[in-house]
Symmetry: D2
Subunit: 324 residues, 4 copies
């Protein structure tokens, strides 16, 4: 895989986005009606090969727990989940529920932003100058009624295949990369090489930075929205050329923070989602899996990561499950 | 597998529950600290065998879509999910979002009961006379703060293994069983035999009644809480003796409705959850999978069905994915 | 007060709206920056006069109770409120809360549409061809971030003054008007005359149709969104010319249902909110007040009806309190 | 009014609560069925007198705005309100809503704790050793289904009468009391005397500490749950003996923080709500009203403060309106 190295002019994020978009666009690649983007790279054949990676039958949930102790601080109305009970064991035990023959029950409700914890960004999550994935107008795709075209339910059956962990935090850092560390394409390649794994078409690439491990140890602090290691804007071509199906990280926002341009906000998203059509996973928890991969040397595994299919959602919670 | 046939006295649900509980209790089976119940039957070895069932790489999401058009009608505060946008493509296209360099985004929130659509019942969902799974007092397990012991997060990494579809609707009906049809153990066995499949320890058994197909065709009506085909109370021993890891149906409530006793409410739940410690999946959608199984004759498959790990939840949404 | 009688061509709601809007527009009346609309008619002097109507000190809440038993059925994601407890007395009594010195508490959360029960429509609730109150573009007023201009919080201190009950259901019906009954200006005038009350500038006019009484007796049925008595489109000029501050009814949607035009949806709203700038109250409960007014003959009272000031809301719950 | 001065032993909150409860209990005062507590002191006659305080017709909303910028930080799942739009002006203007004749609409939903902003504590909010107001068992009153006895809807028509502002911040401080300042009965009396006002039976007493003004100037910080001026535990008898209908403050928690006992949590609540049966308002905003009262010297006014009647709620949002 040859990786272009476009120059990065800090003062011109708009120009950089435009240039990268031009190089990396998948608009029309799978037809004008396509709603799946890079998930098209994930074929049944790739799944069959990936299933063969189940050798010990051990499983790793890559989800954080969803509760009020999560990282969110209310920015853009992103709170942590508010879980509450509509029936409890306390009530059942006290006999106040009114059911017959000693039956008792507990039940619960939740309110939450769909992207408050371990999640997929859907293809309707980000726009470039009012354009959504596959050249559609943003307002034709996502209104107050939700994403009528590329809603997350379109991916409900698709995201299962070969996962590959690139533990950049462990290979390049001492387990954790510092905030502001921009992961370059060569870092990804070097990590894969160190692991002895090759990225293949249709892979779901899992990049561990160690940022979540640090948050666990030190407290959330600015985990959600603050400084963080993450992918450099210069990874745009790598993400496109590698023909991967999806990418996920253990950080809030996938790309390095602070962003690499002045006066900018998540410029890599602006290329990756509307132009490459790539699914991005955020706030995944790779720590237990990474320990296992370091121990057995196998960094590829069977990964199922299908989102809860909220109709029209532009992102959704997911409990990704790696099996080795 | 020999299946006991206890007599069923319509006037004494409490006695029937007590007797079945005595026969079928798994309390203490995996130690007094156990929180996993029948998921203990699902071993790494079983997973390795099940992964070999991935032969064509085709996938089937067994989740209904989650939206306001779902089956709920508000009973016990069970509404359908309310999904709303906090940012839209319409706003992005109009340029009112205030982001730099042409960046635009969409974001969303949801409020919902955790058991409003395709879901797992957790082990803290149902109690028998104030007793929860493994002999615990209900009030020691589930308070207003949630399930502190057997919360659904305890199953986050576990439910992946061999799924077996028992398409009772197709084998015994004409694709659909009528409401009130009580599926007996012999029906389950006959269906398995017709499919040429044998239920094994650790299986996740998927019972298709056709009730969802009917709701799709005729409208939800009383799908949620009304009359339905479902498992007979007489299946309690089968569910226990078969050493399955979990069971799921395409109906609202797993067991037949109206219930088979006078003045009763979900008596089979009262045995199955607190005594057997069995995970129950409800409102799963087997229709596409069933078509495929009927076509290729293979009714066993690799199934991943890990719930979103809401801490302390007594049930949770899941997008079960079958792969063949 | 002279009331124009424009002709009503069932086939041309758009033309009728345009003509009524032209006759009745208050755009610019209180300056181009105005956000209060007809609440400008409600002056401190009017309040002083109205407070003198407190003679017996008796109070009437005009709010329905807010709970899951309300009228909503999920249309356009309008559910009933979902109220759940995050702490309970059961938990407190059982001693599981962890507070010192015998302290126990109960706490609760709610999820709800802001217009699911007794409510005010804010001025950002309805648009005419993309135009909001006072000639603003709808997209300059209400984005996904809410109503940045005329949000309901702008009325937080204003709606207290003279309320007048027009019990049309009692005067013209036998307590209740039938569904589809279009209340004409002459009906309003006749009712006021029967009550011996005169509508004055700045009044908050409360029109009782009896529709809520019927729903109470017969069940909600189609109360929310179905057929109903209500104001005729022909009331537009009356509502404008009378210089009232606000109007409220006991129905879901203020205007008669079915609407009086073919292929139409709430055409009177389209005149009243964006052009007249009139606050509309819906689903108010006048029944107890109406009994009292019938008994003592006094149909004017002191009315406080300030909405909960959700920033940027286009409608909000209110507990209107009439004091006589 | 003679005010007892019980001694305060920092090491024995439980003893202090028990003693104060014994002195101040209103259990049985209004009959064993009573659900209104001190609101019984607020009579129609008192309302008639209070309405005469409307002299200029000016109004003051005492509510904070309800939005994501509020004081909550997630403690005990208390978030700020999450308000989101289900329809917007942007959508309407772009013509994507599907309504006929140019009709467009905006609509919205909210999720929030009922006590996240300006609010009343209901009588089911706090318990003392498992006992609720009027000697009831907490578990007989508040289950997961809500408060079946003293739910906030029972106060829906009651809280309108004479409000009295005691601007302790201005009289004793320089506009603001420091955090940890325990307001003693003599401070309340001195403030009333400075204002030239006398507390009367049935009054709704509004105690301004200035804490909210400080939060506005300096940021929320620990406003919700942190240090604060507030009423001393030694006010229990004053609150009881004064026969007031309700009390409200501009702080998160009404009583001084840190609490005046070691290892304690809101001990004054534990006396006031379950024993006195007193309604407590929290997070009210008195700043504009206080300016006006300082200017015209009139500290008594007509006050309407009826909560939104969520059935079974143990607290509720309110927009209190003072009229002078």
């Amino acid at each position: 895989m040859t990786v272009p190295r476009p120059s990065l002019d800090r003062t011109d994020p708009e120009g950089a986005v435009t240039a990268a978009a031009k190089r990396c666009s998948n608009a029309g690649r799978w037809g004008s009606d396509d709603v799946h983007g890079t998930l098209n790279f994930l074929t049944p054949q790739a799944r069959v090969r990936a299933a063969a990676l189940v050798r010990r039958g051990v499983t790793f949930s890559l989800a954080q727990t969803f509760d009020e102790h999560g990282p969110q601080r209310g920015w853009r109305r992103r709170t942590n989940p508010v879980h509450s009970m509509t029936d409890t064991g306390t009530d059942a035990e006290r006999g106040v529920q009114g059911f017959p023959h000693g039956f008792g029950g507990a039940d619960d409700v939740v309110s939450m932003p769909l992207q408050c914890s371990t999640q997929w960004d859907g293809l309707g999550h980000i726009f470039d100058h009012g354009t959504a994935y596959n050249g559609r107008r943003a307002g034709d795709v996502v209104t107050s009624a939700g994403d009528a075209v590329t809603g997350i339910e379109t991916a409900a059956a698709l995201i299962a295949g070969r996962g590959v962990l690139l533990d950049v935090g462990r290979v390049l850092g001492d387990g954790e990369l510092p905030d502001g560390f921009a992961i370059l394409p060569e870092h990804l390649d070097a990590t894969a090489a160190a692991h002895g794994v090759t990225i293949e078409e249709g892979d779901i690439v899992c990049v561990r930075t160690g940022r979540l491990s640090r948050a666990r140890r030190e407290g959330w602090g600015e985990y959600a929205g603050g400084d963080s290691p993450g992918l450099s804007f210069l990874c745009a071509d790598w993400l496109h050329d590698s023909r991967i199906a999806a990418i996920a990280t253990d950080t809030w926002g996938f790309e390095v923070r602070p962003n690499e341009f002045d006066d900018s906000f998540q410029p890599l998203h602006q290329v990756v989602i509307p132009h490459i059509g790539l699914y991005i996973g955020e706030m995944w928890d790779f720590d237990a899996l990474a320990e296992d991969c370091a121990a057995d040397g196998a960094h590829a595994f069977w990964l199922t990561a299908v989102p809860i299919p909220f109709t029209g959602a532009v992102g959704a919670p997911v409990n990704p499950l790696a099996v080795k």
